[in-house]
Each structure stands twice: as structure tokens, then as C-alpha cells.
Symmetry: C2
Subunit: 296 residues, 2 copies
């Protein structure tokens, strides 16, 4: 007999990313239902959503490192909320939840991106299944740390993935973005249900994906204030190749800063509004080709 | 002898609209200078900018009605700030400032829009001068009320205009948007300086402009919550014709709402993030052709 999986679909981890919050409302009226999945939903930070802000005190989606979850001296609002979510759906590392899907928006032109934090047969098959049915889907592996080390909310589950869709300004609902988020989420659930029942269809033998490499900060002055903005060349260019020597920064004094890499890389999260307080300008990823194990 | 005009250039009236704040910084280092203009700059709401929010308590750009300025029981932060700006640069109705230029961003695809609140030879010549040198500039007259009745900050001057440039997410700086805002502002100052000295060049005899007609709210349920979002058809369609019968709302239950107007109109401020708290979906404008008086 096929066992069931406990699945948690999360929206509103960031209070001013509206698509996930809206989908949760719709799924409350028409519940998600897939064979062998016990699906719960969670609006992770309703208080921040009420205030129309990303967070009250600190970024909830960075609170789920083992260190922070274990540190009872961290008592800002999101640190407490993280501990509560971890109690309810985790605990991280020994979780009662088999899969967490966390829904996000970005102001960057990321399209519908599936973010994966671990590289095994399961993630590759999931990625292949989603992209086969949603050719515009982008696959981004973040593997700089182990799955357990990340502070992302979705790591509270045994498996966790993020659905990241943009461009959408903060505090706005766009129909195209909402449709893409709904479709990608449903495909992840459909895959999970089929995989559990050993009913996966044939999948592509290889997939094109991206793996994150590093982040680029804006150049700062001695007082820590930006000397430049993201160059127009990069605007809207997420997941398209950036060649060494191409412009990346437009200094306010007229100078231009150039990409000093050794190989073409692929910008991600270009000029994302939420990263201004850390002066992050964009991240860079490498394009990779991954083999996919044939379903049993 | 040609007299000089007192001119005030304002940025940061809304704290999370970054372009104006950035330009003020640049103009502090390289001051704006035009013959016969005495130019001051003002960051209108630094406290809101520090908090990375549109405002602290209330919208500063609605505080400048004669009634609100005279009401000393209104003591929220922006009401007080408005009274202080009115003392310093007004008083509205008998102002020491000849011209106020207020710089704004929108998340809507408005392009570089010059908003005019009065229709006389001066505004039409200004509009013609700007558009002649910046063909992408859009001219929007808001004439539903008299100049004095509007609550906009720029009405603190004898003349007041707004420069409204988008699309730009809140809390983001985009190079193309910054360049357009700088150019339009400099053209307004250049025109003003030339006009004062009777040195205006020949201008087009007519201009194509828009005049605002009404605003459309999202359909709401009995609890005042939105039943729909802006239809994808409208996204990015600012200043392009909307025909009667075209879709405008996508209901969350799958239904579609259609435009019930009698004539084609032109959407503006489509899905602007800042108007979500008032559930405003977009505004509508009519296209008009205006004659321009030949410069003396």
C-alpha cells in the first residue's frame, strides 16, 4: 500500500508578496486535492501582510537555520514566528512534514522559477516533470550550503522547495504572475502524488538548469552608501548570459562598472527591491545540464 | 529687465519612490542652474524615506487642500509636514514660489508623464516644449478640480506640475526611469527660463494630450474585500485605447468584468501598488488635441 505524504503549501512568508496570499484564499474555498497527499496550507506572516510589509522585525525566510531556531535569546517577531512554525510543522531535521512548498514573488524578471536546495533523483525528476509541462519554468539549484544549513522556511520540511515568480512590484497582484504560480505549485503536487504511486510518466533524460554562484553588491562609499545603481544593460536580463566585460553598474558620477568574471554567467534577482537594505545588486548563476533518472 | 522666478524642485514626497530622492542627491553635488531661475530643492518626506515607506501616517501628496492646510486639528505626521512646507514655500494661494516641480514614480507603465493641473497658454507651451524634445513624454491634464482645490504638494506654488515616471517597483532605482525623470525636469526648467526671457523657440501649433476622466475601483464583496484583480489585458496598457466591451477585471471565481464605457478611453495608473489600500484599479483619460499659442 502506498503511503501518504504530509505536504504544506506556504504563502505570505513575505507580507508584501501578494500572489501566495491570494492563492491561499482561493485554495481555502477550493481545497487542493491530490491522491496520497495530505495537504495543509499556511499563511506564514499575516501580521506583516496586514502592515503591507516584507516583515515586522526581520526576514522570516532567513530564520530557519538550526542555530537561529535553537537560540532562545532571539526574540524579534519573525524569530518567534519561526520557532512556532518549526514546532507546528517540523521540527527541522526530523520533520513530520514530508514536503514544504513556499510561494514567493520578486520584482526581478525571474519568470516562474523553481528553487531547489538539494540535488538528488527526486529534485531532478521534479524539475524535469515541471519543465516538461511548463516550458517557461526556470530551474535554479541553490547548493552553496547543505539543505539543513539554509535559513529558508521551506527547510522545515523533510524536503522543501520555493516557487519564485516575477516581475511583480511589491504589494501588487498581477494576473500572469498569479497564473504561473498556481500552475507551478499544482505541477509540484501532481509530480509528488504520481511519484509516490510509482506512476510517473517518461521524463526528459537531461534538463537545463542553473546553479547559484555568488551575489554582487553595489559599490559603496566609505559611509556605506551606494555609489552606483544596476546598469540598464542588466535590467530584465535574469537568466540570460552576461559576458565578461559587459556593463553591470552605472555610477552616479557617470562612470560605468564592468563584469570582471572569467566566464559568462547568468544574473538572477536583478535589482530586487527587497535586497536594497543589504545593497545587493544581483546574483549570478551558472548554466548546467543534469541527467534525470528514468522513473521506476 | 527680466525678473527671476523662485523655483522649488521636490523629491521624496513619497518615501519609497526612489528616483526623485536620488536626483536631489546628485543636484546637491552639481546644482541645477538656469538663467533667471532661483532654484531650491526639497526632500519632502525624509522620515518616510528612512522607513522605506510611502508615508508615515497619511499620503503627503493629498494634504495640500485649502481645508486640510487650515485645519489645525489634523496632526498626523504628514498633515504637520504639509503645514510646515506651506509656511516655508507657500502659502498656497499667495505663494512666494513661482513654480513647484514634484517628482514621482509609479509601478504602472506610464512612461515619463508630465502632469498639469491647470490649462492656460503657459501649461500648453510647456507641454509642447517638453514633448518636442522628448517624444516619449506623455502629457496628462488633471482638471476635474481647480488648481487650488487639489491636495497635491506642488499646488503650494503659484504654478505646480508633477513629473510621474514608471514602471518602477517601489523601493527600486532603475537607470532608464532616472534618466527620463532627469531629462523631463531639466526641460521644464529650460522652458521656464526661456519663457521668462521671451526666448522660446517655435513650438508645435497643436499637441496631443490626455485629460483625466474618472477612476475605477476593484469590485468588492460585502466585507469590502476585492473580488477581482486587474485583467491581464490592461497590464502595461497605460495610455493605449481601451474599447467598450474589453475585459478589465479578472474575478477570482473565474468570471471576467468588461469595460462598460460609451467611447474608447485611455487607462492610466494601471494596477499602481500605492492605490491598493483604496482598492483603485486604474484611472481613465480622454485623448485631446490642444492648440498652442505661438511664443511672443
Amino acid at each position: 500500500m502506498t503511503s501518504a505524504w504530509q505536504v504544506l503549501v506556504v504563502g505570505g512568508t513575505h507580507g508584501n508578496e501578494f500572489s501566495g496570499v491570494q492563492l491561499l484564499k482561493q485554495w481555502q474555498q477550493q481545497p487542493l486535492s491530490f491522491p496520497n497527499l495530505v495537504i495543509q496550507t499556511l499563511q506564514a506572516n499575516p501580521k506583516a501582510h496586514e502592515c503591507n510589509r516584507r516583515y515586522i522585525d526581520d526576514d522570516l525566510n532567513r530564520e530557519f537555520t538550526p542555530q537561529r531556531l535553537a537560540d532562545f535569546n532571539l526574540i524579534n517577531y519573525e524569530a518567534l514566528r519561526a520557532k512556532s512554525i518549526n514546532q507546528q510543522f517540523g521540527p527541522k531535521g526530523a520533520s513530520q512534514t514530508d514536503l514544504v512548498i513556499d510561494l514567493h514573488n520578486t520584482t526581478s524578471t525571474m519568470g516562474p522559477t523553481l528553487i531547489l536546495l538539494h540535488d538528488s533523483h527526486w529534485e531532478r525528476q521534479l524539475a524535469a516533470y515541471v519543465q516538461q509541462r511548463m516550458p517557461e519554468a526556470v530551474l535554479l539549484f541553490e547548493l552553496e550550503q547543505t539543505y539543513q544549513q539554509w535559513g529558508y522556511l521551506c527547510t522545515v520540511g523533510k524536503r522543501g522547495v520555493m516557487v519564485e515568480v516575477g516581475p511583480q512590484p511589491q504589494s501588487v497582484l498581477r494576473q500572469d504572475i498569479l497564473d504561473q504560480m498556481r500552475l507551478m505549485t499544482e505541477l509540484i503536487l501532481e509530480f509528488t502524488s504520481l511519484q509516490l504511486r510509482n506512476e510517473l510518466p517518461p521524463l526528459p533524460a537531461t534538463i537545463e538548469a542553473f546553479t547559484s554562484v555568488c551575489s554582487k553588491s553595489l559599490p559603496l562609499d566609505e559611509a556605506g552608501q551606494p555609489l552606483a545603481m544596476v546598469h540598464q544593460r542588466l535590467e530584465g536580463s535574469d537568466f540570460t548570459p552576461l559576458q565578461p566585460g559587459e556593463p553591470i553598474f552605472q555610477y552616479f558620477d557617470g562612470r560605468v562598472g564592468y563584469f570582471d568574471g572569467d566566464e559568462p554567467l547568468y544574473p538572477t534577482f536583478v535589482n530586487e527591491a527587497a535586497y536594497y537594505n543589504s545593497h545587493m545588486a544581483f546574483s549570478l548563476a551558472r548554466k548546467i545540464s543534469l541527467t534525470v533518472a528514468a522513473p521506476n
